[in-house]
């Protein structure tokens, strides 16, 4: 090394001196590519650690009746029954279910068809009072008139008001799990506090639904 002739590009001056300078210049390495790589990895890890965000939906199902013959009557006059079926379609009827021959003298129930883009409108319309109250509460909370605890308890009280719309969600055999989650979400949006999910239909409901499904 030391006896290599000439300083090459630097040119001129004493040989020994020249050598030393050249060495001094090369002690520093260019760290730019390393920094590039480091930040690339950094960005990758930051992005991948925050991308996957699952959440959970807490569900409470009613305890099954021990005695199925004990027919508890639920007040259904302000209830909407939503039947989820194939192709993301929903059929609904209001109040109790009547057939032409059940002797109640009421007009027989017909199913109205809707889907997930329109069902919210139907529910909000039918649950108008509760939705307005809930919106008012939300405004009061946001403007600082209510503290969080008061807001929560008032919200729960408004949602649980027995005069509100109730919903019975029934699923046909063709309904998808996604439909069920979506409708439960809709319940939350439309401020419906009392709803139940059932996976069986009454025979009369099934007949009516099959007739409607044939027209899909």
């Amino acid at each position: 090394m030391a006896d290599a002739p000439g300083g090459g590009e630097e040119g001129g001056g004493g040989k020994r001196h020249q050598k030393k300078r050249a060495k001094k210049g090369s002690t520093r390495i260019d760290m730019t590519p390393m920094v590039d790589l480091a930040f690339l990895l950094l960005t990758f890890f930051i992005l991948t650690t925050t991308m996957y965000k699952p959440s959970t939906l807490q569900m409470t199902f009613p305890v099954p009746d021990e005695d199925p013959t004990d027919d508890k009557k639920t007040e259904l006059s302000n209830a909407i029954t939503l039947i989820l079926t194939a192709k993301d379609q929903i059929f609904y009827y209001i109040g109790e279910f009547h057939t032409p021959t059940d002797g109640s003298g009421k007009p027989p129930t017909t199913l109205t068809r809707t889907d997930f883009s329109k069902v919210r409108q139907v529910l909000l319309e039918r649950n108008k009072e509760a939705v307005e109250k809930l919106n008012q509460l939300a405004r009061d909370f946001n403007s600082g008139k209510l503290d969080e605890a008061a807001y929560d308890s008032l919200r729960r009280k408004t949602k649980g008001d027995p005069t509100n719309l109730k919903a019975i969600i029934k699923t046909d055999k063709d309904a998808k799990y996604r439909n069920m989650i979506d409708i439960v979400d809709e319940m939350d949006i439309s401020g419906i506090g009392s709803y139940g999910v059932l996976d069986s239909l009454k025979t009369a409901e099934q007949l009516l639904l099959d007739a409607e499904k044939a027209t899909l």
């Binding site: 520093r28 760290m31 730019t32 390393m34 920094v35 480091a38 930040f39 990895l41 950094l42 890890f45 930051i46 991948t48 650690t49 996957y52 965000k53 699952p54 959440s55 959970t56 939906l57 807490q58 569900m59 409470t60 199902f61 009613p62 305890v63 099954p64 989820l84 699923t171 055999k173 063709d174 309904a175 998808k176 799990y177 996604r178 439909n179 069920m180 989650i181 979506d182 439960v184 979400d185 939350d188 949006i189 996976d199």
Partner: protein
């Protein structure tokens, strides 16, 4: 003149502290990152607006995939091993230490219990997936309700270990028929199990409302 001489500053910036910091952060993120464990099941959960986070401990998950196959999963490794021993007794199978380690890391299990020893003997990855495909998940029919056994055993052993009941989550694919999910829920609610409160795992939806 010599007084006026300014100290010659290199135009190049010393990047060492920056590199130090960058690598420190890289190391930190690499070490703390929890990759999603390789799952035996690909489940596309539906989205909902619920924001409550998923618990990472004490959680028993029942998975239903889009074809309706049912899987069992448990986060607590100690309980997993006990469950394996207990379930193994039903088929006169005593897991070796090696099998136990494999079972602890296998994630969701979705095969009939009779096939479990054969399943654990396979190497991870493709072979297991292939094996898995031959079966219809954990049997749930009323004559051979193994899902019920899994759930009861897990709850019992978890209670012995921790003194509390495990949290229960249901993770189903959005395209599963609801009737299959309802079947699982009916098993949850059946006498002897009676899980009436559980969590449904969903993806967080941001753009609705």
């Amino acid at each position: 003149m010599p007084k006026l001489k300014m100290p010659k500053k290199s135009p190049e910036l010393d990047m060492t502290p920056m590199v130090d910091l960058a690598f420190l952060l890289v190391t930190f993120f690499m070490l703390t990152a929890q990759f999603r464990p390789e799952e035996a099941v690909a489940v596309d959960t539906p989205s909902s607006m619920s924001q409550s986070p998923i618990p990472t401990e004490n959680l028993m998950t029942i998975v239903v995939d889009s074809a309706g196959k049912v899987y069992w999963d448990m986060t607590d490794k100690k309980v997993r091993l006990k469950v394996l021993e207990e379930m193994g007794k039903r088929i006169n199978y005593t897991p070796s230490d090696e099998d136990k380690v494999k079972f602890a890391n296998v994630g969701a299990v979705g095969i009939p219990i009779q096939q479990l020893p054969a399943y654990l003997a396979l190497p991870t990855g493709g072979a297991r997936k292939e094996f898995d495909r031959q079966f219809e998940g954990i049997p749930t029919d009323s004559t051979n309700n193994q899902l019920r056994d899994w759930i009861i055993t897990t709850r019992l052993l978890f209670y012995e270990e921790a003194g509390i009941n495990p949290l229960v989550a249901l993770k189903a694919d959005g395209n599963t028929n609801y009737s299959k999910v309802a079947e699982v829920i009916r098993i949850f609610q059946s006498p002897g199990i009676q899980i009436n409160r559980f969590k449904m795992i969903t993806d967080l939806e941001e753009s609705r409302m």
